[in-house]
């Protein structure tokens, strides 16, 4: 691997100072499951690697009935899916934290890292978009909040400016009668990159959809928020027809490429199937969630 210096700041301020000082030449290290592979393979370079795991704010999970859930950007997946509050209130997040990589990767990889790495196939990102998550970004000019759907800008690129750091992810408290699910298609049973994926959330009201959100993985240059699919469900009765229409909107919105993992046509078809299946499961979860 190329030479670099290593720093382990213990506060957000210290991390921002280091990142500001070294600008584009600094890379943040959380679980390292993407960045170390990229540095070793020469796909990215760095003079400084800034390890953020010792910063308390980036390493905690906090739940509050009214304000919702906050997950530090460096919290590894296993701490997300083993957390009692997450299990109780955000089963859609458990889905995704437990299917990223295998056991070893889940011991290190974080949802924050999955977002910052900005892969089109990032499994956690559609799930977080469906859950209306936002990122708290800190930098030399203070803090700002960015909706997850606005975070990734191109494959491997995000909205962070030099010196800025994703500190935490925030998830609003789930509404009564709400449910979420993420489902992906891979040719194996585990340990693979999504050919396509769908993250959805629904809120029900007396047999109708009050609202819904749909987001897709691996079918656009960034994880794709399909706002119109959710809007088409709002106010509609919960039945196969309304769900099918939303799934077809997701299929139309997908802009995939042909590559070794699948063709455009196949991926678009998958978007319809996966959105439909994910919506059915989210509806079942919502019915059980009073």
């Amino acid at each position: 691997m190329q030479w670099f210096e290593y720093a382990r700041p213990e506060s957000v301020d210290e991390a921002v100072r280091l990142l500001s000082e070294h600008g584009e030449k600094a890379r943040v290290l959380a679980g390292g499951t993407d960045v170390l592979v990229q540095l070793r393979g020469g796909f990215r370079s760095a003079d400084w690697v800034v390890d953020i795991k010792e910063i308390p704010e980036l390493n905690g999970i906090a739940w509050d009935d009214s304000s919702g859930l906050t997950i530090g950007a460096a919290v590894p997946c296993y701490r997300v899916y083993e957390n009692e509050d997450v299990k109780k209130h955000y089963p859609g997040l458990v889905d995704v934290a437990s299917l990223i990589g295998g056991t070893q990767i889940q011991g290190r990889a974080s949802l924050g890292g999955n977002l910052c790495n900005a892969a089109p196939s990032a499994d956690a990102v559609p799930a977080m978009i469906a859950l209306e998550a936002s990122g708290r970004v800190v930098g030399p000019d203070g803090a700002r909040t960015i909706a997850v759907e606005d975070f990734c800008t191109a494959p491997g690129k995000n909205v962070l400016k030099p010196g800025e750091l994703l500190a935490s992810l925030h998830f609003p408290a789930p509404k009564p009668h709400s449910g979420a699910h993420y489902i992906r298609f891979i040719p194996r049973n585990e340990m693979d990159i999504a050919v396509a994926g769908a993250g959805v959330s629904v809120v029900l009201d007396n047999g109708n959809f009050a609202s819904a959100r749909v987001a897709l993985a691996s079918v656009a240059p960034t994880p794709l928020f399909v706002k119109e699919a959710g809007e088409a469900l709002a106010g509609q009765p919960v039945n196969d027809e309304s769900i099918q229409r939303a799934a077809e909107i997701a299929e139309q919105a997908a802009k995939p490429i042909d590559d070794m993992r699948g063709t455009k046509r196949y991926r678009k078809h998958l978007c319809e199937v996966l959105t439909r299946r994910a919506l059915h499961i989210a509806v079942e979860r919502a019915k059980g969630n009073n």
Binding site: F4, R8, G41, G102, T103, Q104, I105, N189, M191
Partner: protein
Amino acid sequence: MPRKVQVQTKLNGEQVEFLCEPRQSLLEVLRDELGLTGTKEGCNDGNCGACTVMFDGRIVTSCLVLAVEAEGKEITTVEGIAAGNELHPIQQCFLEGAALQCGVCTPGILVAAKALLDQDSNPSEEKIRFWLANNLCRCTGYDKIVRSVQAAAEKMQEAR
């Protein structure tokens, strides 16, 4: 050029100190600096699991951990599994069940399987297979591995 960094860590129950370059992986330091060659290098990018070690109570692929991150942590490698000359039940069962052929994946699988049995004394076959999904074996076809993990679980339960 960056300097070397001094790291103190607890390795297989003993306090150790080493010097490393910040770019060196934990895997490189275990093998090349500390002489613990039980941990194997397979893919060197986190896919194959041959370099699996316990790192502060969780299994990780040591190729994706920087050695400098070991400061103040606790690490167990395959060398730390047996009690002196007595093999751990998982090691004994792998021998008896012929759960290895070339053996390159075996240290990582032993560390990973032991971690599973430490938290679940009677895992289902499905749970074993998903838990070990990050450990690739190109020889055995996995069946003997899974059966040996089940045998170890039984043996450990009997011993309780």
